[in-house]
Symmetry: C2
Subunit: 157 residues, 2 copies
């Protein structure tokens, strides 16, 4: 099988229509649609989303937010990092390595990555080289944070 | 049908064992278990969890975090509010009003409540009197925030 090709998604009406196929659809996607209609953003602006296409259809996606070092409460030394959200592969396209390919793409930028491992997905994140943080009730407020760090980066105590 | 009785959950080995039945189980629950074993917290301390029992078994729960007014980026005037997480009713106990009862309990404290409406649960939150915020990419980072406000409380612009 060919290596899945990960693309940065363009914000346009086709992309936003394809987003409706995903479970995790909400204010973020609706806000993009409104901004597009109101010409606040241009057709084909880059989005925080990355995805994989099969036969021209979007079948998997993640959202990546770059967090500024001044808000970093996870890594040592404090630095810019990515929060990874909304990893989702459409049901009929699972077990083809698409989720792993998207996560590896996030790791390829060389910055630490933090996610909230939901619904007992911990084994997947461990497989991808992530590790759980030491839970801090004030910082983590019920989240289940897993992080991946490039060489030379530690966790805050 | 009797009105479901919502209880604040005690942290003890029985509660933590029951938590394992829920999908959203992770570092928070494991951390409580470790703290209990290490005597850092006492058996029967109060937790941020509230739940509903049926025949002595925990069948529904939420987690509520009180956020200090100084971190409030949602409400006007800025004030303490609750973040509601991990609303979950075990599959065989759904459609009995347990989710609604837990949310009403959160509202009964008189402070605003904020949640992240996941997996297209928006209609449920609307029914409970919540409304979507105006999406702010910096603040909301892919979340789908819905809020409930008591009388006299507005949203930040």
């Amino acid at each position: 099988m060919d290596k899945p090709k990960v693309e940065r998604l363009k914000i346009n009406y086709k992309t936003l229509e394809e987003f409706q196929k995903f479970h995790e659809y909400g204010l973020q996607e609706l806000s993009m649609l409104e901004d597009l209609k109101a010409n606040i953003i241009e057709n084909d602006s880059n989005s925080p989303f990355y995805g994989i296409y099969e036969n021209g259809n979007l079948v998997a996606r993640i959202s990546l937010y770059r967090i500024d070092a001044k808000y970093d409460r996870y890594f040592n030394p404090p630095q810019d990092y990515y929060e990874l959200w909304k990893l989702e592969v459409l049901p009929q396209y699972r077990n083809k390595g698409y989720g792993s390919a998207l996560v590896r793409h996030a790791q390829s930028f060389g910055l630490p990555v933090k996610t909230n491992a939901r619904r007992r997905s911990d084994p997947f994140w461990i497989k991808m080289g992530f590790r759980p943080v030491k839970y801090d009730p004030i910082r983590d407020r019920g989240e289940n944070p897993y992080v991946w760090t490039p060489p030379g980066v530690d966790l805050q105590e």
